[in-house]
């Protein structure tokens, strides 16, 4: 019985809430949550539109009926809620088991939306409105889980504003007072400070392998030749041609994602966003590796078997990596495509598992991965890599089984002997004892003696890229630089290959994503170390080692911004500003009239004389007290007369003549001196 009564008490409608501001804020936050879900693609536009209209209608309805709650409505709403839940579980089960968080999030957003919309029809009391405010948090969270860029920020700001107004109105309604803008602003300020503080203190989010990873395809079309590179007509047979800035394999103008890497071509890199990566640490996002150098282009050597083999199974695809050790740290990367890209699966070395929602995935013997379908913007795939990051000492002492002889030949082969290059490489690495030291020495030499530029003339027909770069131009970009390093290493007999892909890109601490742009396309060198496999060396740039926390990122950027500030002009400007401010302050502190100045002087004298001049007392009376405390000697001016003159000027509506003002100012100064003197005399007597 008591349980029943308790349930009834809990369900009893509270007192009707009359605050329109609170109701508008509650509807606003929920509507924003729905709009945010729609903007992040969780809800269809029509669904969101209908939901928002229904929400508004429900809010108006429940406001009008707030004093006459309808018990049967609760029952109807409960039935609707049950139906919504049933639909949700049906959707999930239809999706053939939970393979992917994305598959749940869509129905979840729909479920939350309809629960909020039905709830909006029955919000008579303050408690119900508080539930609406809290419910909007879940909608925002669902939307935030899908938000990839700063375009989500306006939603968050508008939602926070709605929450602030709503909670402020709730408190105002609780204590029957007008909501106060000032306290809401202070609350918002503290809130922003706490939020920013938490954001800075918390470590960057990282993807856990215990979750199910997102993958989805958008705009996918099966390719004619299953493992062929989309847009190049297939395989390594592409003729040398000038690059065009668009096309699937030349995203943003980079020509390195074709079958061959032609170093004679000159592309122009744009700055459009290619894809975003959520990853635990920044690494090179590897697309292709090349083993065969012909003096102008890097190519893939045709092997004895089929070049591309289909990876068995479905998503997630287990790749059985070709690396000697599968023991590196796990690195999960999720790629969110923003542009139509080549059908290359970007990954950090060495890919172990790929979550890709297609039937087939292809891989060649060097570990490059291609999909059998094209990928449009909005495609998502996740790669789990095992990353081996040995230190310099570990690499120096690397030992283990080497490459098998055929591979060793492939990775040290040169089209012609390069005698000058070999001589140069030997001279540079004369003092290096290990492979790693040799690589570093060559890198250092190139850093000293070559210059980076993308503005170099096209390579003359028949010329060798490396000879041209090392002995003629000494200028070039990543392709020339990395190719030269690779060739120099090969002349020393070190197994080396050329890799293309992207550098990590800009890290955004809010979205926790690396924004990779077209100009982040890159080519670099990979060197084989026994026991550790292919290790990347970038003679062009250095790469940060670990995922920075938001604080480190923001601090770094702030420091960078500070460094860019020109010191001298800023100091000058600050000095001028300070002077102006000082002038303004002095002007403000200077008494407005001569009379006020006289009054201030007398007050100072009174303070010196030990009188309390701050009380409720007129200047005339203060003057009399001053004269009593410091009797003027013969010929000395009386403070009371000065005070009377000051009052006459201030209250008599009569301006002082300049000689009169000057004489009075002198007289007041003499009273002040008298006060100082007497005080000194008193102190001396004591």
């Amino acid at each position: 019985m008591s349980v029943l009564r308790r349930i009834r008490a809990a369900n009893a409608p509270g007192p009707p809430e009359h605050s329109v501001v609170l109701r508008i804020a509650a509807a606003w936050t929920v509507a924003l949550g729905i709009a945010a879900c729609a903007a992040e693609g969780e809800l269809g536009a029509s669904t969101a539109g209908v939901a928002i209209v229904a929400l508004g209608a429900g809010s108006v309805f429940s406001y009008r009926r707030r004093s006459r709650p309808m018990p049967w409505l609760k029952l109807v709403l409960a039935v609707v809620a049950v139906v919504a839940f049933w639909w949700f579980f049906f959707q999930i089960s239809k999706a053939n088991g939970v393979t992917n968080l994305g598959a749940v999030e869509g129905p979840l957003a729909v479920l939350f939306t309809w629960i909020q919309v039905t709830h909006a029809f029955d919000v008579p009391s303050r408690r119900d409105l508080a539930f609406s405010l809290a419910g909007s948090v879940t909608l925002m969270a669902v939307a935030a889980a899908q938000a990839l860029d700063m375009g989500f920020a306006p939603f968050v700001l508008a939602w926070v504003a709605g929450m602030l107004v709503g909670l402020g109105a709730m408190w105002g309604s609780m204590c029957a007072s007008r909501p106060r803008a000032a306290s809401a602003l202070v609350g918002g300020g503290v809130l922003a400070a706490v939020g920013a503080g938490c954001l800075l203190v918390l470590p960057a989010p990282s993807v856990s392998s215990r979750l199910v990873f997102p993958s989805s395809l958008a705009g996918d079309v099966s390719l004619a030749s299953p493992a062929g590179l989309e847009g190049t007509g297939g395989g390594a047979t592409l003729p040398v041609r000038a690059g065009s800035p668009s096309g699937r394999s030349t995203v943003g103008g980079y020509l390195g994602f074709a079958g061959p890497l032609d170093t004679a071509l000159r592309g122009t890199l744009g700055d459009q966003l290619v894809f975003r990566v959520r990853a635990s640490r920044p690494t090179f996002w590897l697309a292709e590796s090349f083993d065969d150098w012909n003096g102008q282009s890097w190519l893939e050597t045709a092997g004895p078997g089929p070049e591309w083999r289909a990876v068995p199974g479905g998503s997630p695809f287990g790749l059985a990596p070709v690396a000697p050790s599968a023991s590196g740290t796990e690195d999960v990367q999720t790629f969110y495509l923003a542009e139509p890209g080549p059908n290359l699966i970007f990954h950090a070395e060495v890919a172990d598992q790929v979550w890709f929602p297609a039937d087939r995935l292809y891989m060649d013997r060097d570990g490059d991965i291609r999909s059998g379908t094209s990928m449009g913007p909005g495609s998502i795939y996740t790669v789990v890599s095992l990353v081996e990051t040995p230190g310099a000492a570990a690499l120096a002492g690397a030992s283990g089984p080497g490459l098998d002889p055929s591979d060793l030949a492939r990775f040290t082969e040169l089209p012609h002997p390069y005698p000058r290059v070999a001589a140069l490489a030997r001279r540079i690495t004369a003092h290096a004892t290990s492979t790693e030291a040799q690589v570093l020495a060559l890198e250092a030499w190139m850093g000293r003696h070559t210059r980076y530029t993308t503005d170099i003339p096209p390579l003359a027909r028949g010329a060798d890229t490396v000879e041209e770069f090392l002995f003629v131009e000494r200028r070039g970009y990543c392709e020339q630089i990395s190719t030269s390093l690779a060739v120099m290493l090969r002349t020393l007999g070190i197994p080396t290959r050329e890799a293309t892909g992207y550098v990590p890109g800009q890290y955004n601490p809010i979205t926790d994503l690396y924004d990779v742009e077209a100009k982040d396309a890159h080519a670099w060198v990979q060197v084989w170390f026994p026991g550790y496999g292919w290790q990347s060396f970038d003679p062009t740039a250095q790469v940060a080692a670990v995922n920075p926390s938001p604080a480190a990122t923001i601090g770094h950027e702030a420091l960078g911004a500070l460094r860019r500030i020109p010191v001298l002009p800023s100091a000058l400007a600050a000095g001028v500003l300070a002077m102006v401010a000082a002038l303004v302050v002095l002007r403000r502190r200077r008494p407005a009239t001569e009379a006020a100045a006289l009054g201030a002087t007398l007050e100072r004298a009174a303070r010196r004389a030990g009188l309390e001049p701050g009380g409720p007392e007129s200047l005339a009376s203060l003057g009399v007290r001053l004269d009593a405390a410091l009797p003027p000697a013969e010929g000395e001016p009386a403070a009371s007369l000065i005070a009377a003159a000051a009052e006459a000027a201030a209250f008599g509506g009569r301006a002082m003549s300049p000689p009169e003002a000057a004489a009075l100012a002198r007289a007041a100064a003499s009273v002040l001196r008298r006060a100082r003197r007497r005080r000194g005399a008193r102190a001396g007597a004591r």
């Binding site: 009239t593 009379a595 006020a596 006289l598 009054g599 409720p616 007392e617 007129s618 200047l619 005339a620 009376s621 010929g635 001016p637 009386a638 007369l641 000065i642 009377a644 003159a645 000051a646 009052e647 006459a648 000027a649 201030a650 209250f651 008599g652 509506g653 009569r654 000689p659 009169e660 004489a663 009075l664 002198r666 007289a667």
Partner: protein, 338 residues
């Protein structure tokens, strides 16, 4: 060092526009004449009434600002002598009304009588038709007479049997009141007290003054030798000149602040009205003239706060408490400084 700083008090009125030798030149001259009148009046009063300089100054202020004065005190401390001296000094005759429970309105304002010889109704003016009227023991008169009197004070006219008679100008009423709560008194209503611009008490004189009074028959012989300091016309001119004393906005704000503060002071059931603010500024102007200044200084306002406000307050205790309330208000408010 200039003259100002060295010694002689700066004669501000002289500085304000006119030299003392040319008393009739412009505003400065008018102010000068009024200040001289005030000084003469004060000297006359001091020679007769001894031991109450504050009350005398308040009386002079009342004469200058054309407001009525309420003197609250026990009998026998010289209220009547003060009134008589003031009247004579101003060149006027004193008309005196002695309050008692049987006093009727007609006894004060006058009555219309039928003249059998001429066969017309003729208005016989009552004692209220005087330049200086002394209402002795006002609170012993019944309320009906009180209100008739006080309305004539306020409107400067008397209406009898539908005919209106203007009172002579200037018209100064000095009313005395026995302390509230004494036997056989009809207390005055607040709205009537509000018609008095100023109030004061004489208090018992000190021993020395009292001995001198006893010796000189209560100052009666001094009174006999008293000379008027001005004519009625001069007095009217002085009242007009008082209004010309400069009041800058900060001083007016100070006066209003004092008045308003009495409304929130603890122990006050009813604070001073806006009419009180007007009276305070007006009396402060007169006080400035008495102090030989052509402008109102904060001290003028502070000095006139108790006389012009205390009698208007309705407080929990008696009149003395009202005065202390006003005093504490004045001493707690910030004073405008140059």
């Amino acid at each position: 060092m200039t003259e100002v700083a060295r010694g002689a008090p700066p004669d501000i009125i002289a500085a304000a526009g006119a030299a003392p030798e040319q008393p009739d030149a412009g505003r400065g001259g008018r102010l000068w004449a009024a200040a001289a009148l005030a000084r003469g009046l004060e000297a006359n009063l001091t020679s007769v009434v001894r031991g109450a300089p504050g009350a005398l100054r308040t009386a002079v202020v009342a004469a200058l600002c054309g407001g009525h004065l309420l003197i609250e005190d026990v009998p026998g401390v010289g209220k009547t002598v003060l009134a008589r001296t003031l009247a004579r000094s101003l060149g006027a005759e004193l008309s005196r009304i002695q309050g008692h429970p049987d006093l009727l309105p007609g006894d004060v304002t006058g009555v219309t009588v039928y003249d059998q010889r001429t066969g017309v109704w003729e208005f016989r003016r009552g004692p209220v038709f005087g330049h200086v009227v002394l209402l002795d023991e006002l609170n012993r008169t019944p309320p009906r007479t009180q209100s008739a009197l006080l309305e004539s004070m306020d409107e400067q006219q008397v209406t009898v049997d539908g005919e209106t008679w203007a009172l002579p100008q200037p018209h100064l009423v000095l009313a005395t009141q026995n302390p509230v709560g004494q036997l056989g008194t009809f207390p005055l209503v607040e709205s009537q007290l509000d018609r008095f611009a100023l109030s004061t008490t004489l208090g018992y004189p000190d021993a020395q003054s009292e001995a001198r009074l006893a010796l000189h028959d209560g100052g009666r012989d001094a009174m006999s030798t008293l000379r008027p300091v001005c004519s009625i016309g001069d007095w009217a001119a002085a009242i007009a000149a008082t209004a010309e004393v400069t009041v800058v906005p900060s001083i007016a704000d100070y006066a209003v602040a004092i008045t308003r503060a009495t409304r929130e002071a603890p122990g006050v059931r009813l604070g001073a009205s806006p009419r009180a603010s007007i009276a305070l500024v007006r009396s402060a102007q007169a006080h400035a003239l008495v102090s030989a200044r052509s402008f109102v200084a904060p001290d003028d306002v502070a000095a006139m706060a108790v006389p012009s406000l205390a009698h208007r307050l309705v407080v929990d205790g008696d009149g003395r408490f009202a005065a202390s309330v006003v005093g504490s208000v004045v001493s707690s408010l910030p004073v405008p400084r140059p």
